[in-house]
């Protein structure tokens, strides 16, 4: 069935033997159900300020442009790489709406929040030197490399790396408010560095592949293996 408002009302009118008010009520019920459960269109990937140019790669090759140019020319379905290092960018949104994204770089900007929810093809994330307050990795099951080293302005308090089940290397150093890292169950994780944070708990239960564990200058650390 085509799920449009007119189609739903047409379906309701098919119940010929029923009183009009019942048909109308049935039609309204169908409309409400449609409105409540239909999938809204995905919000597009964007960044602020929109006048700032970034670089991306799609099926047409490497391209550069501001946000209007991106909207007009990018083949959203085939964008595999986004690079926006050192551009004074203040916000980046809906990264998960780039279904083919594998490589994301946004080092040295002014971005406080990164939400990678749904970026299940993403393999490489480099977001170091941003004033991080929150990073969400939900669904990032293909990520192998994360660099989220901070600097003195970060306020991020916790990181949950458990969705990153393919993770090989993660660098979380220099986030002075970072109190918790949960990396439990990451069977491939080989490198974890988190020096110069303020860690209480570092969870690495089941991470038997860790080769390099660096946690200098965390005066209250408790490593849970």
């Amino acid at each position: 069935m085509t799920c449009t408002a007119s189609a739903l009302m047409a379906q309701a009118r098919c119940y010929q033997g029923l009183p009009k008010n019942v048909v109308r009520a049935f039609g309204l019920a169908l409309l409400c159900n449609w409105a409540n459960h239909s999938t809204p269109p995905a919000a597009p990937f964007r960044w602020e300020p929109e006048a700032t140019s970034i670089q991306w790669t799609d099926s047409g090759g490497v391209k550069t442009g501001d946000y209007p140019t991106f909207l007009a020319t990018a083949d959203i379905a085939t964008v595999t790489s986004v690079e926006m290092d050192g551009r004074n960018i203040t916000g980046v949104f809906n990264i998960g709406s780039l279904p083919a994204l594998q490589h994301f770089e946004a080092q040295g900007n002014l971005i406080t929040t990164f939400d990678f929810t749904g970026s299940n093809n993403l393999q490489y994330i480099s977001i170091n030197f941003n004033p991080l307050a929150s990073v969400i990795y939900t669904g990032c099951s293909s990520v192998t490399y994360i660099d989220m080293r901070g600097f003195v302005m970060t306020t991020i308090a916790s990181v949950d790396l458990r969705p990153c089940t393919a993770l090989l290397s993660v660098y979380c150093d220099d986030n002075p408010a970072l109190a918790t890292i949960n990396a439990n169950g990451l069977a491939s994780l080989a490198v974890l560095t988190c020096s110069y944070c303020n860690l209480g708990d570092l969870f690495v239960v089941g991470d038997s592949a860790i080769v390099q564990l660096w946690y200098d200058n965390n005066p209250s650390i408790n490593i849970v293996t």
Binding site: T193, S208, L213, Y215, D216, I221, I223
Partner: protein, 192 residues
């Protein structure tokens, strides 16, 4: 207090300034870099780490347990592991114990302990001639030395400082280091 012994693949640990009272590792881990200075480890923990690292059999690693609060020099079991590691090409840095002399040209250490593990005192007894170099007092000290290749040697006490030569290093070409009462380094002699 961190027990890292379940991380079976671990090769490198950096944990300076982490207020650690223990960082537990085991000899089955392939660790070649263990930098845990500026913590609160006790000498027993330092000993355990050195013994574990010596036990893993690997060469040319780097271990730093220095600048603990309070100072935590290795005790005799740890010192044996220390010397073994140096002999295997490791760079080993710990809190110092009483007598450690260093050759400024090679960075190698001369350690002096007696048969029960007590630290000995080395005193300057005159020019660095072939006759008299080191006097060990009356403690019956054993001298533990390393040569320029990093091999560990043992030198038996040869009696009062007037006996020549005091140190006998056999055929391993050990370097003997001396200091005067002001801490100045004396001449270095090779005993073939």
């Amino acid at each position: 207090m961190s027990n890292l012994s379940s991380l079976a693949s671990l090769t490198s640990v950096h944990a300076f300034l982490a207020s650690e009272t223990a960082v537990t590792i085991v000899a089955t881990q392939p660790i070649t870099e263990f930098l845990v200075g500026q913590n609160n480890l006790a000498s027993s923990e330092v000993d355990a780490a050195l013994v574990a690292l010596d036990g893993n059999g690997l060469l040319a690693g780097n271990v730093d347990t220095s600048l603990q609060t309070p100072p935590a020099p290795p005790t005799p079991p740890g010192r044996v592991a220390y010397a073994n590691l140096v002999g295997k090409g490791w760079t080993v840095t710990t809190d110092p114990w009483d007598v450690i002399l260093m050759d400024p040209s090679t960075g190698l250490w001369l350690l002096v302990v007696d048969v029960v593990g007590n630290v000995g005192t080395v005193t300057w007894v005159g020019p660095a001639t072939a006759d008299v170099i080191l006097a060990d007092g009356v403690g019956g000290f054993w001298k533990v030395v390393v040569d320029t290749l990093g091999n560990r040697g043992t030198v038996a006490d040869a009696g009062p400082a007037t006996v020549a030569p005091v140190l006998n290093d056999g055929t391993n070409n050990f370097w003997m280091l001396v200091v005067d009462a002001l801490g100045n380094l004396g001449s270095v002699h090779v005993y073939p």
